[in-house]
Subunit: 665 residues, 2 copies
């Protein structure tokens, strides 16, 4: 069995190789453009290589590890990375964190550090930050409680000021108030920032952050009054020790309340200074940065794996008498994967757009101009929700499109899915986020209708647009003006009609909060439509700016068209509803959409190659550059611990039964 | 901390208890009706109790177990169940398999046994079946290969008849021909049925089944020429040893080819007798039975967990100044969960409908009348695809609707999801199945258009229906006639228009197979629409028959309306496309749909209570009958192995760093 036994790894599968010979553009140029220049590509590759050459960072056995083993590996890597950063001169926000994404401990430690930097006084910063940055203490960030998540005002943990000892006394008043979920807290942290309701002289001053030591630096045992541990297995994030924490009369000195903006003075006087708004800006920033790191990059990986596999896998025949066909040559497989590929590009560009918007906003904030905050908050909320929801569904489609092999952990797809699905929940549950965006849009719509100024991104709400889409044939739907206007019209209509329903309800005597609740399904839909519109518009504008690189521009234009038409095809109802697009025009959309699939099919592999993931980064038996799918599945399966021992089940349960048979056969 | 420390388990959470006091119907009566009578309920409960009282079947530590541990537990339970069946007089197809669903080994052993019973000669049955039924050998069923799944003709394994020794010589000609995925094969099986291309005198006779011994009965070592092992970790099914198998000149006697329908005689003459069609009927049966066991029941469990949790969880305020609201009181949460609940009922009824259809078909087949086979095949394919796809998405919605706690394995939801998603892939990949149904529908449509007879379920394809929906206000959309006709119109239109596109393409000179491929996205959509229509129609008919039980009929009518209107609301485009439903009517649909959510909300908990799952069956910290969600999460988390040892990571990586800090604080 030479074909079975000899390893083919390294020699590129000919079916995959042939896909690379017909690219309509230069993959290297596209990679450089996506990176923001060849110099950035060079630097990124250097960091990735340095990390992948270092055996401490190996992910080779990841799919076989238990929760305990993954935790240990994550701690090892985090500590080693710190050393490596010192050696290599890497910075805190450099690409090395991304190259290791998902495998590091101490992400919450970073939030601990950030919260002290932002909310702590100069003395607090001077005391804690140097220790934290060298892991001479391990911090966590204890906000969420067992019974309370997004609604922060509902948090129950208390901190009562004791004037006699100049201490705060922290308590968990009942079980639902237990801190639950904070990362790094279950097994690692020695300290944590605890959010608690502050009481001074019997009066509640609301939520404040306190630094609390929870484990001994000497022997890591729990401090007096502390109950803490790991919350157990999750769908993913096994490498993170998400934890629980109960506090019983835990005393911390007055100096441990983070006091840049609020302070309790020795005599019990409560002093507040400055604005709290900046707190929201931290969460806003986190939401924006997670879009790229935790959502778009995983989606790009899933597309790479599924598309490469789909040109190696052959199944059934397209034409009688021919060889079995590559599954990517079936229209249904194209329709599964290529829109997800287009979405990966669309979201990569919208992430850039949001980052720019935020940089601009941050510059204004530094000048003490807080005008952009509502818009930034609305954008970060809506786009976090839209992109995570869309991408989660996209990764699931990629997984299922790989059939049985996609379901094996060795494909890399299950872990991408189980990780990305969490992004729909953390940092704000998506429905709540959509409703926050909707509240902003309704306000802007009301303001715009009465002629008041609104931010540029929402002026379209009051714009006068034609009542019918002017497209006359299927080619017209390849015009960005045509489809962008259709999206604009649809988003404006949904916001407009929901605002009208809201007003009608209130005018008919329904109380304002009930009316709001009765409109929330439609409000969430309207907010999503707004984000979809902006994403299409931004994609079209990105393509337009590519005029100096015609080869790349052409293929990006196809992807932009596909993203836009896929959205119309899949959400036909909202475009047909008021007749803006007619049934006959929807048939044109469908025809153009299906035509595009066949066009982009030809460049599918080069388009994922351009994402430039290394095999080690993908960690997938199906998605490697050489396409040796079957060989790799076979070699990796043999490393599974299930193949390294005879199960005790044989001796205990099977042997006695099987031995009865010996005499009979 | 009395509230924190004392266990509340057993005393029902008051928020959940209050939901049960206002049920509009008798839960016990609904359960009995679903079971098919009180006597069936009594029997089912007795079996479940017998199993749950037996510690061997405990699932207490399931969420903490490794792949090896889950495999061992599954073998232990399978062997013990056999003993228990003998003791209790339970039968092979009784409810006890369902009560243990998901945790048993040797499911493929059952397929091994079934295939010998159906395809083996009387002598083969007499030899193998008695051994198999007592686990005196462990069988598997080796069909799928590393490179070949649904397209059976492409399988590459060979079996060459050697006339001199009267043996078949089996070989795996290259790596993609390795058998891959068969359950029970990686570690347990001693024998397997191998599907291979039969060669006699150099001529290929196509796929045939051979019994092959792969492991020694003496010491379980691999037999000569056999390479086999476990394929490693998967998204779920860790308890099953899905395996790989390579054959190198493995010889089996002539008698080991299953020979009820085909035989190679000693002189090499190949004889075929009877019909092969019955083979497809086995797969058809499996698809029908998996709908209930592997899809609808898991969906019911997910609904139970998510709905109970949603009345215990409180988050944010609906009205200023009030207590935080139960999350199920938010319209958006209702809109997530209640349509899934309605779907669980809809699919429970369609599963009944399919079972009846198949019983009827089987009776005909026994009378040698094979006329119903195409319809049965089309129905089993389409409904398997539709129900698995819909339910997978529904379980995911339930998981995400529980926020962070849904993401914990302890909620029970991640394992329901990772299991149900496999049902979209196994026993026929869904897209391929939809296309098989579509092929049947197109044929029937063509036949019906030319006046030829078609099966009763598809006569609607040629029926003349009104061009516009006659509904005048939102209440009209609560009429089953109105919405059933809308579905019928929509399904017929999609099939009709796709058939027209297909004809146009062929008439314009596109080759038939290319034309088919260019229509597959729309063909799959049409097949799905057909199944959706039949499901709605069957739900409405089920409700109609309930006239003797008005209390249950009323709530089932609400659920039927909700299922139907949710489908129109979510697929608005296909109803609006040709103007059958106008934009104004779609607003009525939306209004009625949203009104129904508030109505069904009141009975949501009784409606899941009626599914009658025990706490042990649900195995969920969020979904137990008593609603002590937080207490249970806390108690279960403490059992996690992550809390039972100090991680070596502390000694190795953290201690050296932390000790540096001691002097500084």
């Amino acid at each position: 069995h030479p074909q079975v036994q000899g390893s083919l790894l390294g020699s590129v599968n000919p079916d995959l190789a042939s896909e690379r010979q017909t690219a309509s553009f230069s993959v290297e140029k596209l990679t450089a453009w996506l990176d923001g220049g060849t110099e950035h590509t060079r630097l990124r590759r250097a960091v990735v290589e340095a990390i992948e050459c270092d055996p401490v960072f190996s992910r080779e056995n990841q799919y076989f590890e238990s929760q305990n083993e993954r935790y240990e590996a994550a701690v090892r890597k985090a500590v080693h990375l710190q050393k490596k950063m010192d050696e290599m001169g890497w910075t805190e926000n450099g690409p090395e964190f991304k190259a290791l994404s998902g495998d590091l401990a101490f992400l919450l430690h970073r939030i601990f550090t950030r919260s002290i930097s932002m909310l702590g006084s100069d003395q607090q910063i001077a005391k804690w930050i140097p220790l934290a940055t060298q892991y001479q203490l391990i911090g966590s960030y204890a906000q969420t409680e067992l019974g309370h998540g997004t609604y922060l005002q509902g948090l129950e943990t208390t901190a009562v000021f004791d004037i006699t000892t100049q201490e705060f006394v922290l308590n968990t008043p009942n079980i639902s108030a237990m801190k639950w979920w904070p990362g790094d807290m279950g097994r690692s942290a020695t300290h944590t920032v605890v959010f608690a309701q502050l009481y001074v002289n019997g009066k509640c001053y609301g939520l404040h952050p306190f630094i609390v030591q929870i484990r001994s630096l000497q022997d890591h045992s729990l401090c007096p009054g502390i109950t803490a541990g790991d919350i157990g297995p999750k769908m993913n994030f096994e490498h993170i020790d998400n934890g629980y924490l109960m506090l019983q009369n835990v005393r911390v000195p007055r100096e441990n309340m983070l006091s840049k903006f609020c302070e309790v003075q020795p005599d019990g006087t409560y002093v507040r200074r400055g604005s709290q708004k900046i707190n929201y800006f931290t969460m806003t920033t986190v939401r924006i940065s997670l879009i790229l790191d935790e959502v778009v990059i995983p989606l790009m990986k899933a597309c790479t794996i599924a598309i490469r596999y789909s040109v190696v896998r052959r199944q059934s025949k397209l034409k009688p008498g021919e060889q079995e066909a590559k599954i990517l040559d079936y229209q249904t497989q194209q329709e599964k994967l290529l829109p997800q590929l287009a979405a990966a590009y669309a979201f990569y560009f919208i992430s850039d757009y949001l980052q720019e918007l935020f940089d601009r906003g941050y510059r204004e904030i530094q000048r003490k101009n807080f005008d952009m905050l509502p818009e930034l908050h609305a954008f970060s909320s809506g786009f976090k929700a839209m992109v995570t929801q869309y991408s989660t569904s996209a990764v699931e489609i990629c997984l299922r499109a790989c059939g049985g092999h996609g379901y094996s952990l060795l494909s890399g797809l299950p872990s991408l899915y189980t990780k990305i699905v969490a992004s729909c929940i953390y940092e704000g549950e998506n429905t709540i986020l959509f409703l926050q965006t909707a509240r902003f849009l309704i306000k802007c719509f009301m303001a715009a209708s009465t002629g008041q100024p609104v931010p540029p991104s929402v002026t379209y709400l009051a714009a006068v647009t034609p009542e019918k889409c002017p497209a006359k044939n299927k080619l017209d739907f390849l015009s960005p003006d045509i489809y962008t206007e259709a999206y604009q019209h649809m988003a404006a209509r949904l916001i407009n009609s929901t605002a009208a329903k809201l007003q009608d309800l209130v005018q008919s005597g329904v109380k304002k909060h009930d009316a709001w609740n009765q409109c929330t399904v439609q409000l969430a839909q309207a907010a999503k439509a707004h984000c979809h519109y902006i994403t299409v518009k931004n994609f079209a504008e990105t393509v337009e700016k590519l005029e100096t690189q015609p080869g790349i521009q052409k293929i990006m234009k196809h992807l932009c068209d596909l993203f836009a038409l896929h959205g119309i095809f899949s959400n036909a109802g909202v475009f047909l509803h008021d007749g803006y697009i007619s049934g006959a025009q929807m048939d044109m959309v469908t025809a153009s959409y299906l035509d595009l699939l066949a066009v982009i099919r030809k460049d599918a592999v080069p388009l994922v190659d351009a994402f430039d993931f290394t095999d080690k980064t993908l960690n997938s038996a199906l998605g490697s550059y050489d396409g040796q799918v079957y060989q790799r599945l076979y070699e990796w399966a043999q490393k599974s611990p299930t193949n390294k021992q005879i199960s005790p089940a044989y001796e205990r349960y099977l042997k006695p039964l099987l031995h009865k048979t010996l005499s009979k056969l």
